[in-house]
Symmetry: C2
Subunit: 305 residues, 2 copies
């Protein structure tokens, strides 16, 4: 068992790269091929879901599942489903009526590469398809596991999860009331936190883990997600578009309240560090099999893209 977070991130980077390749491959297999009369829809879904990205959520599923010796096939299906859900949320967030972004991961956003109607529709289809993948018997032989995965994803993505957070984000931009640490915290827990929590928890669901271990992974995901969000805000404030592959400095330009704006860079960095440490502490009951998850917490707050 390894206590402190390891100093070097290179085993993590190798594992991340391998997971990215496996997840892209699973997505490629699970998304409809570009065939038949509906091919333009499938092309748009594939563009949105196969467009690269860090696959943080998918990696969390795979590493969570690895704690309980879940079959790689099962874990990859769930990882792919969560990445489909995440891809849909990005495609809809980028729409002209929402954030109106032209660039994502260094490429035109979905509605720029296709058109607005197709982008809305492909997002809708990606969300439905994510549930179809989770609910399919190939994901797990036990239907209780499949039903639980569907329930938890639906809660993480729904009105009291990601969609609720997106509403708060939209309201914050038009609000005259100043944001507080509490209001920003609630926004971020809902908008990005819930899906990251579920990603970490999903491996325990697949592994039918005892409630305590499932709760530890979920708590790890919660703190990791919060740290990740602050790191994202720090990147937006300090990195260049070339580094992140998307427009930066947008938060400040939009007058969007972030913890960086509220606390300043230095205190935000300290808070991200503290959250990453807390995340790791939830893994104390796990052995060295959880080392990659420990490294991930440190990596999350030090990445440059």
């Amino acid at each position: 068992m390894s206590g402190a977070a390891p100093e070097t991130a290179s085993p993590l980077l190798a594992a991340l790269a391998a997971s990215v390749a496996e997840i892209e491959n699973a997505l490629d297999t699970l998304l409809p091929p570009e065939e038949g009369p509906e091919a333009p829809l499938y092309a748009a879904m594939r563009y949105a879901a196969l467009g690269g990205g860090k696959r943080l959520r998918g990696f969390l599923v795979l590493e969570g599942a690895a704690q309980f010796r879940v079959s790689r096939t099962s874990a990859l299906r769930v990882a792919a489903a969560i990445e489909m859900l995440h891809a849909y949320s990005l495609a809809h967030d980028d729409l002209p009526a929402m954030d109106n972004d032209d660039l994502r991961r260094g490429r035109p956003t979905l509605h720029k590469a296709f058109d607005e109607a197709t982008a809305i529709l492909a997002g809708d289809a990606l969300q439905a398809h994510a549930f179809a993948v989770l609910a399919h018997e190939d994901t797990h032989s036990d239907p209780a596991v499949r039903a639980d995965l569907c329930l938890r994803l639906a809660q993480a993505a729904g009105p009291r999860g990601m969609c609720g957070g997106q509403m708060l984000d939209m309201l914050a931009e038009s609000s005259r009331e100043p944001a507080t640490e509490a209001s920003i915290g609630r926004l971020q827990v809902l908008k990005t936190g819930k899906l990251i929590e579920f990603s970490a928890e999903a491996g325990a669901i697949l592994g039918k883990a005892p409630g305590m271990q499932r709760h530890c992974l979920l708590a790890y995901g919660r703190e990791l997600g919060a740290a990740f969000q602050i790191a994202d805000d720090i990147l937006d404030a300090t990195a260049t578009a070339a580094e992140t592959g998307k427009a930066t400095g947008k938060d400040a330009a939009a007058g969007k309240a972030t913890l960086v704006g509220l606390l300043g860079l230095e205190r935000a960095r300290i808070q991200a560090e503290r959250l990453a440490e807390q995340a790791v502490s939830h893994l104390d009951s796990f052995g060295e099999r959880a080392d990659l998850l420990r490294m991930l917490a440190a990596y999350t707050i030090h990445r440059r893209s």
Copy 2:
């Protein structure tokens, strides 16, 4: 056991009215109350889902479930979930980038009553929430039933179902190739047929019915859905906006190919009649408990709204 479809529709109208009230009530209970910081999202979800409508899909669930003595609570949750899914699809179809409709069920469409961003988001949240309702243990004590409901809804609503049909609809409007009966048929089976099929099948899933009976209900739903679609096209061509509560004559104005345009009103009416009769024939193995479903087939093609 009742052979031919009964002549009078009044027991059906009473049952429909009672179901509408029950389904509205279930939706009211299952949708988040308009409270807390995310209240504007919940208000938009409720506006979209509680805005009246015939509740055909919900009624099919309830009557399908009644064949197998499923608890009303279970059936109402599934009925509400499908109506949430249907409400999301209407809200997104009405968006400026899609059909750009201002009127729905006699009221401003969702993006007119709120704004475009909120309409996109509320639709997304309604889809997720539909799955959360299906996957929750209150819907059925057997997780295999819940997983199956999620799978079938996801398939009906996803890229090879409703979303695929919507893509075909968008492509048809910009296509220079003339529509054929086959191409219109495929569009309608996907765009509206799959969800109606699932609505009819859902009661059998809830009742853990033998495969044969499940298949009969699904086949009934398939023919009923096709008849319903032709009836809708006939209404668009002949009824007034005051009767239907939405803009009419739009198909012709948009140059949209429908079976009415292709076959003419008279032959379209005959085809709808034939489909309704075929739908009823799939219920031959069911007793008089299925009489409302038989009446529904006749009513579907004779309604004026």
